[in-house]
Amino acid sequence: MADLGYAALVIALAAAAFATVAPLVGLRWRLPALIDSGRSALWAAASLVSVAGLSLLYLLATRDFKTQYVYQYTSSDMSMLYTLAAFWAGNAGSLLFWAWTLGLCAVVMLIQNRNKNQALMPYVTAIVAVTMGFFVGMMVFVSNPFDQMVFPQAEGEGLNPLLENMGMFLHPPPQLLGYMAFTIPFAFAVAALATGRLGDEWIQSIRRWTIFAWLTLGVGILAGAQWAYVELGWGGYMGWDPVENAALMPWLVGTAFLHSIMVQRRRGMLKVWNMMLIIFTFNLSILGTLLTRSGILSSVHSFSQSGLGPLFVAFIAVAMTGSLALLYYRMPKLRAEHELDYWVSRESTFLVNNLVLVGIAFAVFWGTMFPIITEAVRGVKITVGPPFYNQVTGPLFLILLLVMGICPLIGWRHASKDNLVRNFLYPVAFGVAAGIILFLLGVRKPAATISFAVLAFVTAGILRDWSRAVRARRQMRAEGWLRAFLRLTGSNRPRYGGYIVHLSVVVMALGITGSMFYPLETTATLNPGETVSIGRYVLKFEGASEYQTQSKQVLASTLTVYTGGDYLGTVTPERYIHRNHDNPVTEVAIRSTLKEDLYVIYGGKNPDGTATFKFKVNPMVMWIWIGWGVMLLGSAVAFWPEMKRWTA
């Protein structure tokens, strides 16, 4: 089976190479048959990569420890689910996962465009094929998932215990898929540049692909945050680790792109800017794969390091230089179709939104790269950690939220003074009132108060605009409230899906603000029967125990939780010592409510019989995960295709 997988990869590489060259040669020599064969070759490459993917799954499922990758990442005592999830636990498997998901995206794209975009498709095929060929080539020549052990072993090393969590299914797959899915919009953009067909055609073709890539990457990022929160045991969800940053950068630039293509579709403006955004989004996605898998920067994801870096850098350099050169060549044809009529218009707010989003992405990029720059310039190693990112990006995120609230309140082209007063009055009043009330209730940290006030303003703005539209529809069509709301939302899904996504950002920002500004933390060493207080909670240490399972030793502790004398329940934070890994893994106990999380980390039992704990109270964290769900809903609404109405 390993031979079959490797052979499939070698042939897939040849097919991808053919799919890259054939459409371009076919165009040059006007040979439609060659162009068609290029498409077929891409189909073939995608199918062969699927064969390789299925082969690796088979080897994992049968625990074939003769295969090095299976030996390194699985063991007999692992559940089948985690055994299969080891597919993306290491470098070689991740490369195969990337190539496979890109292949699946390519197949969907080929089916979607079998009868349209005929002028663009040869270039799109070539770009997708060359990207796929790059990943397949890496496997064939550098990091082969089907390598066989020189001395076959009867048992595997097993998965890193940190990876044995539901997050293993929710975090890497969507994140890796998101990186790859951005290839399709990029391929269409390059095709538009190459053909000079720079109108709406390519934008129309990639809107849903961009939402899909943006959503999957976003889901992956948030799943990673949730995983870090429950598994890494430090009580936070964003450590500004280089690999986390690597995912955030293309997501931020992709967000800017999603917004600015609206301006191009509506007003024929920002064409050069949109090209630049999608070029950077794609290249940042490849940079994300590089940072995830190269280990060039110290990271909590350092269970997967390799020497793939130079090849990734070369690929990014070629992709970036080539696409930017093409963009420069086409600049004269990318002039805006309309000009701006007034300073105060929705177009202007989109520009500010784009500036801030790209600015945050740049700040994250700069912070990620600054240790390398400093070491090169000064020869000194430094760390760029959470205090830097919080101070630099915090104010920018606040501005972004503000712009998010302002944008829907200003009309396209021009907003009169009366119009501005009418649209802004209630949301601003609501935001100010919320700020004052919160201040009176004791929310006195200026940044937190401002953040909550801005969130109130944004929410009021969105709801007001939506409710006005529902009211107008009710009056015009004599519909009930619910019917008018559903019909209105269905009639303009991109707009109202976008509003739901904005509301999800508000919900998440609530959680982030609360947990950032008002956390409580304490550590305590307790004898059984002793208590500790944190916030409104009193915790009593009942005792510690140890027991053995098939794969690990479990060190467990039990604490009862009280508030105001009332018994709330018990929490059981644990530590696992896995058979194949020396470092114990923290299994935190979290008691979540909408108001706050009680977060208990078990430090272990001391020789004198005491046990050490770290206790945290993280306010409003649950809102971040609720916002995640709302974001999925909003994206689904925006993504969902319009129903075709059948007429007799």
Partner: protein, 163 residues
């Protein structure tokens, strides 16, 4: 070797802190946590010092012990951080200092956004100028067009008739 030298430096610091005759002030966990949140654990976990959750972490335990002792002896936050930097190097700080070349790290993102803002401002201004010119040209064209003049005349007569 590097690690041994750092550990030796830290032990020297601990010794110095223990030997300094000062009035003992009990360091609160919050004070220790606040200082620890500005530092990175040197065990290789890459996490902020008070977030390292390794069971047996020599660097974390030594550093936290040093911070506690130094606070007890009345040392200031800055002095404690400075002595840890002396022992481990700048890499122990969770964020670059706001001095010298490190300032480039802090300023560049804002400078880039300011530059971007300048470009956006110039672009918007240029678009506004072109937009105004386009509208004026459209008005001039409309004034010269006999058909549009006829439409205007008829509209005027219609409005007069309608009162």
């Amino acid at each position: 070797m590097d690690r041994i030298a750092r550990l030796a430096g830290l032990l020297a610091l601990l010794g110095l802190a223990a030997a300094t005759p000062t009035v003992a002030l009990a360091a609160s966990p919050d004070q220790v946590n606040e200082i620890a949140s500005q530092l990175v654990c040197q065990c290789g976990c890459g996490l902020v010092l008070n977030n390292c959750n390794h069971e047996h972490c020599e660097p974390r335990d030594s550093m936290l012990a040093y911070i506690g002792q130094a606070l007890d002896q009345g040392k200031t936050r800055d002095a404690i951080i400075a002595s840890l930097v002396e022992s481990y190097g700048e890499v122990v700080l969770a964020a670059p200092t706001k001095r010298g070349f490190n300032l480039v790290g802090w300023i560049t993102p804002f400078a880039a956004i300011a530059a971007g803002g300048g470009i956006v401002y110039l672009a918007v201004r240029a678009w506004l100028v072109w937009g105004k010119r386009t509208r004026e040209e459209a008005v001039e064209l409309a004034a010269d067009d006999p058909y549009l003049s006829r439409v205007d005349d008829e509209l005027r007569r219609y409005e007069e008739r309608m009162g």
